[in-house]
Symmetry: C2
Subunit: 219 residues, 2 copies
């Protein structure tokens, strides 16, 4: 990825002070999220947005595309997509309706997606996808058969045109509103995992592995 993957198309125009273009910030958000909203253009100029699992692998995104059939049917080689990842952090309650807002972190990345099709590259991409999604899992699961590999679709998109947008902190009420008798502040969101629920047919001898006990993503 370029050090500054800025472009006119990804420049943050509304509230430009919330825009970030450094790769560390962008990568940090991409590595925290788990579900991307992938936009593409279907027939008749119709935009479609589909939630998909993804991981970052260096300078590219790997997107798990069982839902991507429709996407890839619309073009042969590479198709323009927009990958947006949003993590909502809190409700910002201002004294004025106008200044109420949301704390969030988001990344918008544009690029051409293509299916990873060569067998070796596809195997590697799937291994990375599984292992970045659930570190430690790839070596501790039943790996795919040839038939399953055929039924799996993985998209890759280089990250070279992206921006992040972040809002943090409390409400920005106007000075003259500060004394008003309305509550103002932030209601933070917490996202965490509950205790893992074992499958009803799980053999009693199979313990929850440590890497699943520690697993954490923001969704």
């Amino acid at each position: 990825m370029n050090e500054d993957p800025r472009s006119e198309r990804t420049r943050v125009r509304r509230e430009p002070n919330r825009g970030h273009y450094g790769r560390d910030v962008i990568n940090g958000i991409l590595d925290t999220g788990m579900v991307a909203h992938v936009g593409f253009v279907s027939d008749n100029n119709q935009p479609l947005v589909i939630p998909m699992l993804y991981v970052r692998d260096g300078d590219r995104l790997l997107i798990h595309g069982s839902s991507a059939g429709r996407l890839l049917n619309t073009a042969g080689d590479g198709v323009n997509i927009c990958v947006t990842v949003t993590i909502a952090d809190g409700l910002v309650v201002a004294r004025s309706a106008f200044n109420s807002s949301l704390n969030y972190r988001s990344v918008v990345a544009l690029g051409k997606a293509r299916a990873v099709s060569e067998a070796g590259a596809k195997w590697d991409a799937l291994a990375r996808l599984v292992d970045r999604m659930i570190p430690g899992r790839w070596d501790d699961c039943r790996q795919p058969t040839e038939l399953e590999m055929k039924a799996t679709m993985i998209l890759e998109m280089p990250i070279n045109e992206a921006s992040a947008k972040i809002r943090t902190g409390g409400p920005n009420d106007d000075e003259e509103d500060l004394a008003l008798n309305y509550w103002a502040g932030v209601i933070p969101f917490a996202k965490h995992t509950l205790d893992p629920v074992p499958h009803e047919k799980l053999a009693a001898s199979v313990q929850l592995p440590e890497y699943l006990r520690r697993w954490k993503k923001e969704v």
Copy 2:
């Protein structure tokens, strides 16, 4: 909204058993979520996906569009958009990589969005947006000035072409994988709010109102 807002474009093609077209299911998901990913087509056939706050108001979506400037600049009257709302519910860990998945609820709604521009209709739309987002807030905040109304953009889109997709339950491992020595089950996600953090300049006399104490959305 039609009783069954199905269309060829919103028909769930992958895993069709996960598709739902009843208005109750669709409305339930739309009313639970808070951030929509709104897709539209920009210049040069480029899809863009932007996170936006929204509420459902009967048979229409109201979308808070401070970020929508770019969207509406691309067309005058109505512009084709796709509004996708996704709530991730849990990580589905199957014995096989292939059957691992995500529990989630999502809605994809297609339609033409237009800005609510007539002053009275816009005021009503904003009141509904605030009050469905935070029930009780509209009457307990400093309502917008004329200038603020001008700087506010609200989009509306009729909900008449939509589908929901839902995955619940444990992993669907193949029969012959059940005895394998890999952990399988679900790691449920919990999303809740932490204690509200009052603004540092909040007057000591202002108590947290009950409607904010009870506030809950999934994000």
